[in-house]
Symmetry: C2
Subunit: 354 residues, 2 copies
Amino acid sequence: MANGVNLGIVGATGQVGAVMRRLLEERAFPIASIRFFASARSAGSTISFRGEEITVEDAATADPSGLDIALFSAGATGSRAQAPRFAAAGATVIDNSSAWRMDPDVPLVVSEVNPHAIDEATKGIIANPNCTTMAAMPVLKVLHEEAGLERLIVSTYQAVSGSGLAGARELATQVRTAVQDENLLQLVHDGSAVTMPAPTIYQRPIAFDVVPLAGSIVDDGSNETDEEKKLRNESRKILELPDLLVSGTCVRVPVFTGHSLSINAEFARDITPERATELLADAPGVELADIPTPLEAAGKDPSFVGRIRADLSAPENKGIALFISNDNLRKGAALNAVQIAELVAAKLGNAARA
Amino acid sequence: MANGVNLGIVGATGQVGAVMRRLLEERAFPIASIRFFASARSAGSTISFRGEEITVEDAATADPSGLDIALFSAGATGSRAQAPRFAAAGATVIDNSSAWRMDPDVPLVVSEVNPHAIDEATKGIIANPNCTTMAAMPVLKVLHEEAGLERLIVSTYQAVSGSGLAGARELATQVRTAVQDENLLQLVHDGSAVTMPAPTIYQRPIAFDVVPLAGSIVDDGSNETDEEKKLRNESRKILELPDLLVSGTCVRVPVFTGHSLSINAEFARDITPERATELLADAPGVELADIPTPLEAAGKDPSFVGRIRADLSAPENKGIALFISNDNLRKGAALNAVQIAELVAAKLGNAARA
């Protein structure tokens, strides 16, 4: 640790992996050495990093010995298979998948919200929240501390890059079809007058459409999606509010990058929109915006929050309505993982100096 | 009335006016004569209707005498100026603008929900609800009758055609720009990497974006938009629930036609998702859908409703979450106006026969 961290990225060739690499190049992250891992299909290819060509290793067979920290963005299946092996070899795994988030021995961390939880990584694994939940946490944390959060009703506007490159390609393909052959002009005059290519990633066309089913319906009779369950369970764990009431409706929209959330939040104690705005102006990881939009949030770090007002359907001074937009690939995935890595690196550094 | 209605359409050349004309041609509406009115700019042009070429008259100067019913889709200003003149000349005005909706002497009617209210048109004017409110009413009416509706939390996904042709053109122009010059490919890899033409209709770009401000902020300190106020006030009037609690967040999305609503509804009495689904299966103007989408709703009449489930953040059996998509130009505007006209025509017919 004297010369920095021996770092690995597992899933380095994916969309989130690429943002992780970009963020590590941008930020003054103390790297002694770096290794890239991916599936067997990508192993052997090279990726340039800080001017060096680095050969991608097969995550399933490579020896993880010597790594201090491994950033995982390899999906839940890949993470379940490999994270324990990397952790057993001594690396602190920071995992972006859903595989470990609800494990009681794995802390679920938003860097601004519950950084102290990294000390509880008894398995050597720290989980990164779902990108939709993540966007809301820095906002809700400060409001909760002020007034005691009791209930959340959330409708989302989720970008296709939440489904990886395949989601973005599906939107692009459908848009190109709609734009051809005067189809777009027909759509302007008659919203039903276009034939889209059959959807493969989503269950309905996503171009010029809205699909109110992000994720998959969970087979427990609730008719909720796994995405809606994650929003409830992860919010409870991160905010340390096991009884928080949450109803989410997770909706995919034709936006490339940037998740948005329309939130009605109810509190135990009084909070006015003026006070909420004041608190959010100073909250870490949060930026006020008159009209937060995913297009403005894309490529930026903060959760942009605006349309802050009283929820006039709640008891007086007990409800706040607001809208959040955040880059789902940066803070929603890669950035928070890198920020956790920075917290872990600082801790390793302190330990080495002690 | 023996040979049908002497009908006028004011705003016949607009987007909603065009749908009104198409619906009148499709449906067996009893027309004795038809006249088209528009602004001075369009007056003198001709429109073909049921094989006849009809010259458009200037709404401001034409003599409305002899009309039984006048369908208005001429904006609030045009309606305020002309509706009383048409009503004074003996026509029953059915107005699609916001001008008269909250007037206590003007009934606000959804044909399946409160058809009886047409008898209260003491000013000779009947108002057509806002398209966003309209989509929800046939759904909420039957749930209210079962369980006593108390509170609504709504987030919307509103199509650009809610802003007329200009909104649809703005989306089309921005999409064409994004698709050019490999910009779209850049967007796939980096959501921030495209320069859109400056927005004129909306306050932010709408292509590949979401704008959480539909309408304009009302100058009363609430930070709500007029669209959000309409949702509250019109729902209360149509459902005859003056104390209904409503919090709306009205959001524009890059969809050409079809408004959608994510709704959390709370009730005084017990209602399960199974019972709600059963009621909605039989509700007039409603069709069940696994995944309601605006693209599927466009060009069709019903409010498509799906994702029906318990609101797990509400007391047990007191909350329902659901998602609605509906064609904002048809039921949301032109169709409901024509349906009201059919109710009025039947009443005139009965009166003539009596």
